[in-house]
Amino acid sequence: MKPGKQAAFLANWTSQARKGFLELLVLNLLGRREHYGYELVERIRDSSGIEINDGTLYAILARLQKEGFIQHRWEHLEKGPARKYYDLTPDGKNALKEMRAVWEDMAGAVRKSGARNV
């Protein structure tokens, strides 16, 4: 495969793989404790090293909220802008459990099937 074509393929594959991964990552972080949006973006950046546009996170949050996996509450601070805190719903906790299991299975399958000579 030509280098340009390979790079395009990898970029596309990474983008596809990242979509599901980011949803799991967001649910995982919210499974530990509630976060507000800005904080979540920072945590994702720190914990995964993935460079994403902040807007991508909000699209994911909107999607997860529409599915009923997360809920929010507003906190009005004396100093500074109001913060919208996100948290998992019971459905979200179940979904996270299922998604983690799927992720573990996939990661295990990749490890088991990995070619040694690559």
């Binding site: 949006g37 800005y38 807007g55 909000y58 699209a59 999607r63 529409k66 802008p81 919208k84």
Partner: protein, 195 residues
């Protein structure tokens, strides 16, 4: 939202663009996303280095957010693929099916008519080249013209279509038939995708 006029203007432009792009998604999601983006930009501007002018901090925050067209695309795709069912959706679906069916029938009729006219023009053109004295357009009197496609009858009159004009009619007929075929192909693809 911001004290600085330029900062406020930059934010409003971005918000307007996001709202326009979000036009395809449900009102709830649109409201939520705009609310989130607003809170995020406020927080992001508050957290950014305070020695920078407010307008620059807003620009930085918006650059980190990215183009709304990019991050909103999956939501729009979701909205298109799984629009939530509404009350009376059966009637709406039936009406929509009738409307779509009617529009498609109309498009099919236009394609068929175009193909028919194109075919007639093609026949006229070829016939005019092969038998110019029997096939073509003939002037019978000062304001009486006759189109003869098959050339079966001896009708008299002066031929009007010169060979070059006959060729032009043929070319036009070919274009019409090609366009009709393209329209029919598009229509068939749409129907196949719905099945």
């Amino acid at each position: 939202m911001f004290e600085d006029i330029e900062a406020e203007r930059t934010w409003r432009r971005y918000r307007l663009r996001a709202e326009l792009i979000l036009g395809a998604v449900s009102r709830d999601i649109r409201r939520q996303l705009i609310e989130d983006l607003t809170a995020h930009v406020r927080e992001s501007v508050a957290q950014d280095a305070c020695d920078l002018p407010e307008a620059e901090r807003v620009r930085n925050a918006l650059a980190r957010l990215g183009d709304p067209a990019d991050f909103v695309a999956p939501l729009i795709a979701d909205a298109v693929v799984k629009a939530p069912p509404r009350a009376g959706s059966g009637w709406r679906a039936a009406l929509a099916a009738v409307a779509i069916g009617g529009a498609r029938a109309g498009r099919a009729a236009v394609a068929l008519g175009t193909a028919g006219i194109g075919a007639l023009m093609g026949i006229l053109s070829i016939g005019n080249i092969v038998a110019p004295d029997r096939i073509g357009v003939f002037r019978l009197s000062a304001d009486d013209f006759q189109v003869r496609l098959l050339g079966l009858a001896e009708g008299g009159g002066d031929p009007v279509l010169a060979p070059s004009l006959g060729l032009a009619v043929g070319a036009l007929g070919a274009v019409l038939m090609w366009r009709a075929a393209s329209a029919a192909q598009r229509l068939l693809s749409e129907i196949m995708m719905d099945l």
